[in-house]
């Protein structure tokens, strides 16, 4: 049963300042959309608008044709879950409690999680292979582990869509790959629609997703990674020189971006 999230001609910003204008994108169940763009171009603003933290200044966001502003916070949370950047909260909650917080939308306003909610939370940790964190303290585990706990918390909401804010930043190389593997798995095998922001074009290639490249002055390029992440587009967006290399494996081809550093290349 697929669902679709449509972002239609959205205009967003803070107060009187318009940051992004005229952005369009569609994400279906089982698809991954990566938002790529320079610092300060409005990725976060757009992201927060889709999540409903900021009111759109124009355009609309539709879930299966239904405008999201007609949904209550609770109804929205049952469909869309948010994985924030890794942070440390001020209080040392237990990991299982943090994951159970994802159940909030599915229990009564004055309720507390039941035994079943706890089992669901534990099964999400198990699904991500981090059961050993269950009784640990959230403030005392590593950044990579926290990222997994936050993903588990989002999954505990049992959403149809997942929005991840730079899920691979601040992680070591191994954990970056683990998280990408996990995201790809959630989309392909569990049918979640995924939107994530990232600073790494290679990650878009690696999880074989769609990409929305956000350039300055409200220029947006949306499509398959191989069509959008090109030498010319990267030059226009970031003012850098890159080479896209196609790496052939037995059955698949995975591209990667090689930045050309002037002093190393001795080209200029």
């Amino acid at each position: 049963m697929g669902m679709s999230l449509e972002i239609k001609d959205i205009k967003c910003g803070f107060g009187p300042r318009v940051v992004v204008n005229g952005f369009n994108a569609t994400v279906n169940s089982g698809e991954i959309l990566c938002m790529l763009g320079p610092n300060g171009v409005g990725k976060s603003t757009l992201f927060k608008t889709v999540l409903g933290f900021l009111k759109p200044m124009g355009g609309e966001i539709l879930l299966d044709g239904k405008a999201i502003n007609t949904l209550s916070r609770k109804e929205f949370a049952k469909i869309m879950a948010y994985v924030p950047q890794v942070h440390s909260p001020p209080f040392p909650f237990k990991v299982i409690d943090v994951v159970m917080m994802g159940r909030t939308a599915r229990i009564g306003t004055f309720g507390i999680p039941s035994r079943r909610d706890k089992e669901i939370a534990a099964s999400m940790l198990e699904r991500l292979g981090v059961t050993f964190l269950l009784n640990r303290t959230y403030t005392e585990i590593s950044g990579g582990e926290r990222q997994m706990v936050l993903i588990a918390r989002a999954l505990a909401q049992e959403p149809a869509f997942l929005m991840l804010d730079e899920p691979t930043s601040n992680l070591d190389f191994g954990n970056q790959v683990h998280v990408l593997q996990c995201i790809s798995d959630l989309a392909r095998n569990n049918g979640l629609g995924i939107i994530m922001t990232t600073h790494f074009p290679d990650h878009v290639f690696q999880c074989d997703g769609h990409v929305a490249l956000i350039e300055w002055n409200n220029v947006f390029l949306t499509g398959k990674a191989d069509d959008i992440i090109t030498e010319e587009n990267m030059r226009n967006t970031y003012g850098i020189e890159i080479k896209v290399v196609k790496n052939k494996f037995s059955e698949t081809t995975i591209s990667s971006c090689i930045p050309l550093i002037k002093t190393v290349m001795k080209l200029w």
Partner: protein, 360 residues
């Protein structure tokens, strides 16, 4: 995820999920505290200028339970049941109220350094009480004015924060508005003290501002405070899970399905009611609302499910013991606010050393 993750695919045993030791520990702590509180309350009945041995207290309590009290011929019964009894009950209620509102505010503002008067409730109440005392109003009016001014100050802060934040006050703006309004009211208090008649009124104002259980300890006040504490405490207890989620910040709480604006307002109203009613009856008693939630978190962790009930008991116990010292140390009476600061500040420094890993 990590290498340890890979050899952990054998599934979760029910024992792991349940973690009985945790909930058992929480229950044990609650029971031990409850017993300690009861013992402390009985002992406190004997503490004071007029020391009463334990066996006599038990006799008096027995005659009270069986309804054989005789206040005319038995002055000891008057001291225990009519003077110290209500004072001890009031003490415990105020300690509980301040601790719960402190715990709630620390979660709301995502900051363990916050105390219940962060939104200016104590400063406001101080002005209300000062005006009433200077104008020579009776003590009931003093209480009412302290209560109204306390709540009024918080209204002012919330209004200011909403105006600045265009309808959705961010917690930082709330804190800053609280500091501004609080210091505004504090300077009003100072001005009132300066203007007050130094012989007749000033001592009363100063003594009120330092906090005391001496003047307003009556069963009637105990009943009023009890009702208010229930009215504000029960909603807070019902919101315990949502308060946990709110500790992760507004955006995350929203994404998990919480109407954060409404929840925040409900917490502010309940906490303000708790603090304002305590302050109105007993004056400004600092440090309790800051330190007790820390001690409690230290014992049972940050989950409000355990934090709220445990901080009620620890707050009540702490206040009771502090008041015993206030009554017994010198011939007169030491203002309780002075002792809570004397005990609270070093305790807080100790806790900062203990917990510095988490805050730095």
């Amino acid at each position: 995820m990590t290498s340890a993750g890979n050899n952990n695919n054998k599934g979760i045993s029910p024992r792991e999920i349940d973690d009985k030791s945790q909930s058992k520990r929480e229950k044990t702590i609650l029971i031990v505290l409850l017993v300690m509180l009861l013992i402390a309350a009985v002992i406190s009945l004997g503490v004071g200028r007029y020391k009463i041995p334990l066996n006599q207290i038990i006799d008096i309590l027995r005659s009270w339970i069986t309804g054989k009290t005789d206040f005319k011929n038995n002055p000891l019964q008057v001291v225990v049941l009519l003077v110290r009894g209500p004072r001890i009950l009031l003490c415990m209620l105020v300690g509980a109220a301040l601790s719960v509102s402190g715990a709630a505010y620390q979660g709301l503002f995502k900051n363990p350094m916050v105390s219940p008067d962060i939104l200016g409730v104590s400063a406001g109440a101080g002005v209300g009480a000062s005006i009433a005392i200077i104008l020579g109003f009776p003590s009931l009016t003093v209480q009412l004015m302290a209560f109204c001014f306390g709540i009024g100050a918080v209204f002012l802060v919330m209004g200011l924060a909403s105006a600045i934040g265009r309808g959705t006050p961010a917690t930082l703006i709330m804190v800053l508005s609280g500091i501004v309004v609080g210091s505004l009211f504090s300077s009003c208090s100072s001005l009132l003290k300066y203007l007050a008649d130094a012989k007749a009124r000033l001592p009363d104002v100063v003594f009120w501002l330092m906090g005391s259980f001496a003047k307003n300890s009556s069963y009637q006040n105990v009943l009023i405070l009890f009702i208010l504490v229930l009215a504000a405490g029960i909603p807070l207890f019902l919101m315990r899970w949502q308060m946990n989620v709110l500790a992760f910040g507004d955006e995350e709480a929203q994404s998990m399905g919480i109407n954060t604006g409404r929840l925040r307002l409900a917490i502010v109203i309940c906490s303000t009611l708790l603090t304002a009613s305590s302050v109105a009856l007993c004056g400004i008693i600092g440090w309790v609302g800051l330190v007790i939630p820390h001690i409690t978190r230290f014992l049972v962790g940050p989950n409000f499910k355990a934090l709220l009930p445990t901080s009620i008991l620890i707050g009540a116990l702490f206040m009771l013991i502090v008041d015993d010292f206030a009554r017994a140390l010198i011939a007169g009476e030491i203002p309780i606010g002075v002792i809570t600061s004397l005990v609270g500040a070093p305790l807080f420094i100790y806790l900062m050393f203990k917990g510095r890993k988490e805050w730095v």
